[in-house]
């Protein structure tokens, strides 16, 4: 009887658990590598690692694929959504087309960070400060320099990617940039350590500091966002998703150079292809033919090592871990893949096997049909005009190559020592629809400028304004003061054309960033404090001493020098001791009480002025007129 009841109970429980299992989300992890050869012998490699954790597990501190270190920071600072970017180099839009992932997974040169933080303004500021300091420690980047002078609250430039719970007090968006931060291996290592396989297996095993930081363009991104099935789903249906992306554009010939012989020596003449059509082509004159066709490369040669098997964690949906975007005619040889697929467009998909090295080899091939690269939405560049240490101008050029007008949001976060004059803001061939401007306060906050600009079809908009440079206090200069100061890049958000239909593929907003700028400020002569101290000290030492002597010094006869009380006491003490010793030892004492004043007799100036001549100070020695000094 009891056994039957138990079995019934257990089966009911099992059914109950199974029925609910589908609605409670699981911890998931997936990784994906996207490879695409670019024009000019470059290769675009995009590593994406996505881990999700249900919010319930997150709140209960139960982590499997989600990195605990980051999660604890986010919990402590009440961060709803986080986007952190490390970027280096430039994406060549003319040769390579539009930016990968519409520019949503890259940042400006250096470090860029924006986050939605719960709380009201001062609370949010404190939490933001905690967040940047903790992230600075976690990623070995000097993010702690993102203080109030570098933080802005953009209005239109960024939209939350996740579903923010509407019940909480409302999150504030804070944004900070550090353009001079050098991104290096020390930032890559913590990034890899946050992955479940920690860079030892799976596609992350390809990531090596030497190759990654030799790339022409690279960007590391960490994006944390809450994802809910619908806007008013319950909290336990939501998951927190972390996406770690490493995107790079490598130069294939440079990456394939042997690590032990990295110097690009001029190749032997036999290896250079000469242009035979030139009349004067000969054994000593060789016009180098521009390279046509595709270079041969392989993953092992480009990254220095093959992929060390699959990362066994996470579910393998059979969706393929590696995609190679090449035309159909391109020869591709894959070694060590579990399965491979070829799509009609030429896209190859491979999936990895555990414990088997994977490599993709593309041999050299003559011209294949070049894949037409898409036009980027916009070409943007920004420069400083003028020269000198007092003032300058900012000049931004935005070119729209498409036959339809575009609307953009142009965001600039300027340091407080660059003082723009908004009345000189002028725009040519475009018009400013809206402007959000927060003026700067010295040493408190910088300028925040956001413009909504409409750019007509096939035209170039030029934006100009004048600014003045501030003179800093001499302690505010960095050690390399004559280099100048860095101005953060401008962030341009190209608004989607059809806001009505969010499902439309063309409808994502795209981001691009200009390069950072160097602002030369007037530097003082840093040796001046030293000069002033030396000069003043010399003047005081020589001048004060001489003048004091002239005023105070009085010449007296040696006999008139009164004895100092201390000397009298010391002499008496010595006599007592001598007497004591003389008593005990019973020796003939021939010690005379020493009464000669020392070579530097201390004289009280007041006493000297009052002319008190103590008779006890008279010595047996000759009365010499001596210089008595204080």
């Amino acid at each position: 009887m009891k056994l039957r009841d138990l079995l019934q109970l257990s089966s009911v429980l099992a059914l109950f658990t199974l029925s609910h299992a589908s609605s409670i989300p699981n911890q998931e992890y997936s990784e994906h590598l996207y490879l695409k050869p670019l024009a000019n012998d470059h290769l675009h490699a995009d590593f994406n690692f996505t881990a999700t954790t249900p919010v319930a597990d997150y709140d209960a501190q139960h982590f499997r694929y989600f990195p605990r270190s980051l999660a604890q920071i986010l919990q402590y600072t009440h961060t709803t959504e986080l986007h952190l970017r490390f970027a280096l180099g430039r994406w060549d839009e003319e040769q390579w087309g539009s930016r990968p992932r519409n520019g949503r997974r890259e940042g400006g040169t250096g470090v860029e960070l924006w986050a939605w933080i719960e709380g009201q303004s001062e609370e949010a500021d404190e939490r933001w400060s905690d967040l940047v300091n903790s992230l600075s420690g976690l990623f070995c980047a000097s993010l702690n320099f993102v203080d109030s002078t570098k933080t802005i609250r953009p209005v239109l430039s960024f939209e939350p990617e996740g579903t923010h719970p509407s019940g909480s007090g409302g999150s504030q968006l804070l944004h900070g940039m550090l353009p001079h931060e050098v991104v290096c291996t020390e930032n890559l290592t913590p990034f890899l350590k946050m992955l479940p396989c920690k860079g030892k297996a799976g596609i992350s095993s390809l990531l090596d500091g030497h190759k990654l930081f030799d790339a022409s363009w690279q960007s590391m991104a960490v994006d944390v966002r809450p994802v809910c099935p619908s806007t008013n789903s319950r909290k336990d249906e939501c998951v927190l998703e972390i996406q770690q992306t490493v995107s790079m554009a490598l130069s294939i010939p440079r990456s394939m150079r042997d690590r032990h012989n990295p110097i690009p020596r001029p190749p032997p003449i036999e290896e250079i292809e000469c242009d035979d059509s030139k009349v004067w082509n000969g054994h000593d004159t060789c016009y180098p033919k521009p390279s046509t066709g595709d270079l041969g490369w392989s993953l092992a040669k480009v990254f220095g090592r093959p992929i060390k098997g699959a990362c066994p964690l996470g579910d393998a949906d059979g969706a393929g871990d590696i995609s190679l975007d090449v035309p159909l005619e391109r020869t591709v040889e894959a070694q060590g893949s579990a399965s491979s697929e070829t799509e009609p467009s030429g896209l190859r998909k491979f999936s990895l096997q555990a414990a088997t090295d994977f490599d993709v080899v593309l041999p050299r091939q003559d011209t294949v049909s070049s894949s037409s690269s898409t036009h980027p939405p916009l070409y943007a560049s920004r420069q400083m005009t003028g020269y000198g240490q007092e003032r300058g101008g900012m000049h931004a050029t935005l070119r729209n190559p498409h036959p339809y007008p575009q609307k953009i949001v142009y965001l600039e976060s300027l340091p407080w020592y660059l003082k723009p004059y908004m009345h000189t803001l002028e725009i040519q061939h475009g018009n400013i629809e809206k402007m959000f401007y927060t003026p700067a306060l010295d040493r408190v906050r910088g300028t925040h400028l956001e413009l909504v600009i409409e750019i007509p079809a096939d035209s170039t908009v030029e934006l100009n304004y004048d600014f003045e440079k501030a003179i800093l206090r001499y302690t505010e200069y960095p050690p390399d003061a004559n280099r100048g100061f860095d101005v953060a890049p401008a962030v341009i958000r190209v608004l989607p054309r059809n806001v009505s239909d969010p499902a439309d593929g063309n409808n994502q907003d795209e981001y691009l960033r200009t390069t950072s700028l160097l602002l030369p400020l007037p530097t003082p002569d840093f040796s001046m404090p030293y000069n002033v101290i030396i000069l003043t000290s010399t003047v005081i030492a020589l001048g004060f001493g001489s003048i004091f002597n002239m005023l105070i010094r009085k010449f007296v006869l040696l006999e008139e020098v009164p004895a100092s009380p201390l000397k009298t006491k010391v002499t008496m003490l010595k006599e007592k001791i001598a007497a004591l010793l003389g008593k005990t030892s019973k020796k003939g004492s021939d010690t005379k009480p020493s009464e000669e004043p020392g070579p530097a007799a201390v004289i009280d100036p007041n006493a000297a002025l009052n002319g008190s001549t103590d008779g006890s100070a008279l010595t047996n020695g000759s009365a010499k007129l001596r210089n008595v000094k204080g």
């Binding site: 000019n40 280096l88 180099g89 430039r90 060549d92 003319e94 040169t109 250096g110 353009p179 930081f213 030799d214 790339a215 022409s216 130069s251 010939p253 440079r254 110097i263 690009p264 020596r265 001029p266 190749p267 032997p268 003449i269 290896e271 250079i272 000469c274 242009d275 030139k278 004067w280 082509n281 000593d284 004159t285 060789c286 016009y287 180098p288 521009p290 560049s381 420069q383 400083m384 005009t385 003028g386 020269y387 101008g393 000049h395 390399d480 003061a481 004559n482 280099r483 100048g484 860095d486 390069t515 950072s516 700028l517 160097l518 030369p520 530097t523």
Partner: protein
């Protein structure tokens, strides 16, 4: 007590007013001798590299091997364009740059000066350093025609080969900009003006188009001048040119790095100002100083590098001279090593000197040692001005002149007065104790009008077409010679007014020259030296004395110096018209101040001196 009393009585001493001309002469002599002392070892120093980051000559240069073949090909390509039109040539050069991976653009420009148009199109390319952050850039450039007008085939080819060679390296912390301008003077000026957007507006004298693509802040520029065709020519030394517009000089570190790399690492000798065979003797050093003084005082461009100095960008030109055994690969390696050193820089060059005079490639004189020379010469004018001022405030003692009717007999003494100071007493002539009011209005007005009138010769000599320039100069000379006598005849000025006028004029001259000495030492020194008779001229009573003084003044006037300069340049085929056109172009297109200093500072002072001379003959008596 005694000292101050003695000083006060010195005020009345007649010696005091006789002393200033000797003091002025002494100042001028000491100033010139100062300059002649500079070549000695005690007053100069060895050059040294101040910026630690530069590490000159520490890199191994790999330029060579198959790059030589590529260089010959590019040189042959350039040679094939020698008769082509500028557009076609720029297209070919741009194509070569594009194939090396640079981003290429062109910039047309035109200047209009002295009635003729100087136009051209620069072609330039930007090599974006793969790991650079686009905030800084360095420049290598070559003009299609070098400064002497020869076609710079090898220079252009070397710059293109270096660009291709540099594009394979990923060590660049700054972008590299490669510029090829049609000629070596106005092309770079137009380019760097457009880079900083300083002249975006089209005016009658210039039309500079904006640059389509730009990079970051410019740190340094190196230009190469190697005018040899495909036949090749091995050179002996590298001549380093470093003068900029208006006498600005690059940071000495850039020069020291170039010399250290060339002579130390590559064992190629370096010369300056084209002086070959420099034996490091006193004469050779003095020759180098003189050459430096000449180019700096003229302030005109001497190569592609000159355009960059006004923007505080350090630039030099490497020019090959002589017959030897160094070839283009050595020059390429020198440039590679120099660019690698500039690449090392973390900050803009600021450690070393910006004001210096070079004696040879390894010795220099810093500003503290040479500036007193110009200051003393300017000081001579100040002493004269002060002496004249004091004189103009004194009632003149009646002099014994036979032509002058006096109330008193010539032998009678003027009325005397007893002056007591302590136990001393003296008899002093009464007029010496009288103080008189100076009339400032007339002298000041005269001086102001002369200065305002000086804009007329400046305008005429810079804006007229070149064929009109020599007649204009002749007319100006004639008018300038007639102006002082006319003015002194027309002005109702007595001796004291003339002295005030001269004093104010000399004071203005000395203040301007002292200030100019800090900006352009050579111009201030030479202008002061040539204007030195102005400190000694005084109102002359007799006509022969006046004519003699005026002749001396006219011999050292701005006009005669211009004629002398043209005569010296006659041998180079320029003639008076060429020289005047060059001055006009310098003022209009290059922005050189020399004409302004000569006509607006020196010429008014000269006229003032002339008025002073003739005022003694024509002016009113007291």
């Amino acid at each position: 007590m005694g000292l101050s009393a003695r000083l006060l009585t010195l005020r009345r001493s007649p010696v005091l007013l006789k002393l200033p001309p000797y003091l002025s002469a002494a100042c001028i002599v000491v100033g010139v001798v100062w300059l002649l002392l500079l070549p000695l070892n005690e007053y100069s120093r060895q050059t040294y590299v101040s910026e630690n980051a530069i590490l000159p000559g520490q890199v191994h240069t790999y330029f060579g091997g198959s790059e030589h073949n590529v260089f010959r090909a590019f040189r042959q390509e350039a040679y094939d364009q020698k008769d082509a039109s500028e557009g076609h040539r720029n297209a070919v050069l741009g194509r070569i740059m594009r194939e090396s991976g640079l981003k290429v653009a062109e910039q047309p420009y035109s200047y209009y000066a002295a009635g003729e148009e100087i136009a051209g199109t620069n072609v330039y390319g930007i090599l974006q350093g793969p790991r650079a952050d686009a905030t800084e850039a360095m420049i290598i450039m070559a003009g299609w025609k070098n400064f002497e007008g020869l076609v710079n085939y090898s220079g252009v080819a070397l710059v293109l080969t270096l660009a291709r060679y540099f594009s394979r390296w990923s060590i660049w912390s700054k972008d590299i900009i490669v510029i090829i301008s049609p000629e070596s003077t106005y092309g770079p000026i137009a380019w760097v003006d457009a880079y900083h957007s300083t002249s975006p507006i089209v005016t009658a004298t210039q039309n500079i188009s904006a640059l389509p693509i730009k990079s970051g802040a410019l740190q340094a520029a190196v230009a190469i001048d190697y005018p040899v065709g495909p036949w090749g020519h091995r050179f002996d030394k590298i001549d380093i040119q470093y003068d900029g517009l208006n006498g600005a000089l690059p940071n000495l570190d850039l020069l020291n790095t170039a010399v250290s790399v060339a002579s130390g690492q590559m064992n190629i000798g370096c010369s300056l100002h084209g002086i070959s065979g420099h034996k490091d003797s006193y004469n050779d050093r003095l020759r180098t100083i003189a050459a430096g003084l000449a180019t700096q005082s003229l302030g005109h461009a001497t190569g592609p590098h000159s355009a960059f100095m006004p923007y505080h960008i350090d630039a030099i030109t490497l020019k090959t001279v002589g017959d030897g055994w160094h070839d283009e690969m050595s020059l390429g390696r020198v440039t590679e090593s120099l660019i690698r050193s500039v690449n090392n820089l973390l900050e803009h060059l600021h450690q070393s000197f910006f004001f210096y005079i070079l004696l040879n490639a390894n010795r220099f004189v810093s500003i503290g040692n040479y500036l007193p020379a110009a200051m003393l010469i300017a000081g001579s004018f100040t002493i004269s001005a002060l002496a004249l001022w004091v004189q103009s405030g004194r009632a003149p003692l009646p002099e014994k002149t036979p032509a002058q009717p006096t109330d008193e007999k010539a032998s009678a003494l003027p009325p005397m007065e007893l002056v007591k100071a302590g136990p001393d007493a003296a008899l002093v002539p009464k007029p010496a104790l009288q103080s008189v009011d100076r009339h400032l209005f007339l002298p000041a007005l005269t001086l102001l009008s002369i200065h305002l009138a000086s804009f007329i010769p400046l305008y005429l000599l810079t804006h007229l077409p070149r064929s009109f320039l020599p007649p204009t100069l002749h007319a100006l000379t004639a008018l300038s010679l007639l102006l002082p006598p006319t003015l002194s005849h027309l002005l109702p000025a007595n001796t004291r007014d003339l002295q005030t006028l001269q004093s104010l004029s000399l004071l203005l001259l000395s203040a301007t020259l002292s200030t100019l000495a800090t900006l352009n030492f050579s111009l201030a020194f030479l202008a002061g030296l040539l204007a030195s008779p102005l400190a000694f001229v005084r109102p002359c009573r007799s006509l022969p004395a006046a004519v003699l003084s005026y002749a001396v003044l006219a011999a050292l006037s701005p006009m005669s110096v211009t004629y002398g300069f043209a005569a010296w340049y006659w041998g180079r085929g320029m003639g008076l018209e060429g020289v005047l056109a060059e001055f006009a172009r310098g003022w209009e297109a290059q922005g050189v101040w020399t004409m302004g200093v000569v006509w607006c500072v020196w010429w008014p002072a000269w006229v003032g001196g002339g008025v002073g001379v003739w005022g003694g003959v024509f002016g009113k008596r007291t």
